[in-house]
């Protein structure tokens, strides 16, 4: 009996609720002081999902180069090259330059070039320039002035696209001087 009673007492003690809540109560005080700071991270964390997609709104004009490993949605104006996993160019958007991507969906206007695995030209698309693709969809009403070449991902086009991207980077924002400097440096070394 005495053995059972001894066992009962330890069982009731850990089972009793009052002991575990004590540390939370003690922790509650520093948490309470930290609370004014904590609301800022919470909306930040909540908005992280929306952050992954970049939106260039119709009011924004970008002069220069955009590079992303995620999606870009362009509704405004971009004067420069765009590199992204997926690029959507909205109906009233304008891009002047090359658009590189896995998927490029065009509803607006591009003056330049598209290099993408999958290209979709919707009915409102206005494409002035070549399209390098593997898979292309052209809806009725789309305007194209340029060549469509199914050469994306091919070995020949890869070597061809490298100089293209290199020249693109030299023409981009503040890249020209760097490019020529490098070229001069390499020439001097040679």
């Amino acid at each position: 009996m005495s053995v059972f009673t001894r066992n009962d007492k330890p069982e009731t003690n850990p089972g009793a609720a009052p002991t575990p809540p004590q540390p939370p109560v003690q922790q509650g005080r520093p948490q309470a002081t930290a609370q004014p700071l904590s609301p800022a991270p919470q909306p930040q964390a909540a908005s992280h999902g929306a952050i992954s997609v970049s939106v260039i709104s119709k009011a924004l004009k970008i002069t220069g180069q955009l590079e992303s490993t995620e999606d870009i949605q362009i509704e405004g104006e971009v004067d420069g090259d765009v590199h992204a996993a997926s690029v959507k160019v909205g109906a009233n958007a304008k891009v002047k330059g090359t658009v590189y991507g896995d998927i490029v969906e065009l509803a607006g206007s591009i003056d330049g070039r598209i290099e993408a695995r999958k290209v979709v030209l919707t009915s409102t698309a206005h494409m002035a320039g070549d399209v390098i693709h593997q898979d292309i969809t052209i809806q009725s009403g789309a305007y194209i002035d340029g060549h469509c070449k199914p050469e994306f991902g091919k070995t020949g086009s890869k070597s061809a696209s490298k100089p293209a991207s290199a020249s693109a980077s030299t023409t981009s924002y503040s890249g020209s001087s760097l490019g020529t400097d490098k070229a001069n440096g390499s020439a001097a070394r040679a």
Partner: protein
């Protein structure tokens, strides 16, 4: 950059204008090299090298901006290196700013890092502000 006369950096856009000025989001994986120009709001969570002209700019926690910023309202939670010309400036607790912040009103949260100068400017400086002066850092 904009041919049309810019709105002053003092008054917020009217609600009618705001409808035409949706917010732009630059995601965390996005790097922009160049000039960003808008009369609306920009949220930067990625990296920007270059100049930003906006009504309101938010640099998120993961954001980094290197260059000049001209805006009415600037809210910084991330990193910034360069000059800021803004009527209202807020540095969040997580902000890390290096450079010069020209402002009329400023809020700095406890914990923010700031290395540089914070010159105050009167209202008419921002009312007549056109382009940032060319100065050596």
């Amino acid at each position: 950059m904009v041919a049309s006369p810019r709105r002053t950096l003092v008054k917020p856009p009217s609600e009618k204008d705001l409808a035409d000025l949706p917010t732009s989001h630059l995601g965390r994986k996005l790097t922009v090299k160049g000039v960003l120009d808008t009369d609306g709001e920009i949220h930067v969570h990625g990296i920007v090298f270059g100049r930003i002209n906006a009504d309101r700019l938010v640099v998120g926690k993961a954001g980094y901006v290197e260059g000049d910023i001209v805006a009415r309202d600037v809210h910084i939670e991330g990193r910034l290196s360069g000059r800021v010309f803004a009527f209202n400036v807020t540095l969040d607790a997580s902000a890390d700013v290096t450079g010069r912040v020209f402002h009329h009103t400023v809020t700095i949260a406890k914990g923010a890092r700031f290395d540089g100068r914070m010159p105050w400017r009167p209202v008419n400086y921002f009312e007549t502000f056109d382009q940032p002066p060319e100065t050596q850092p």
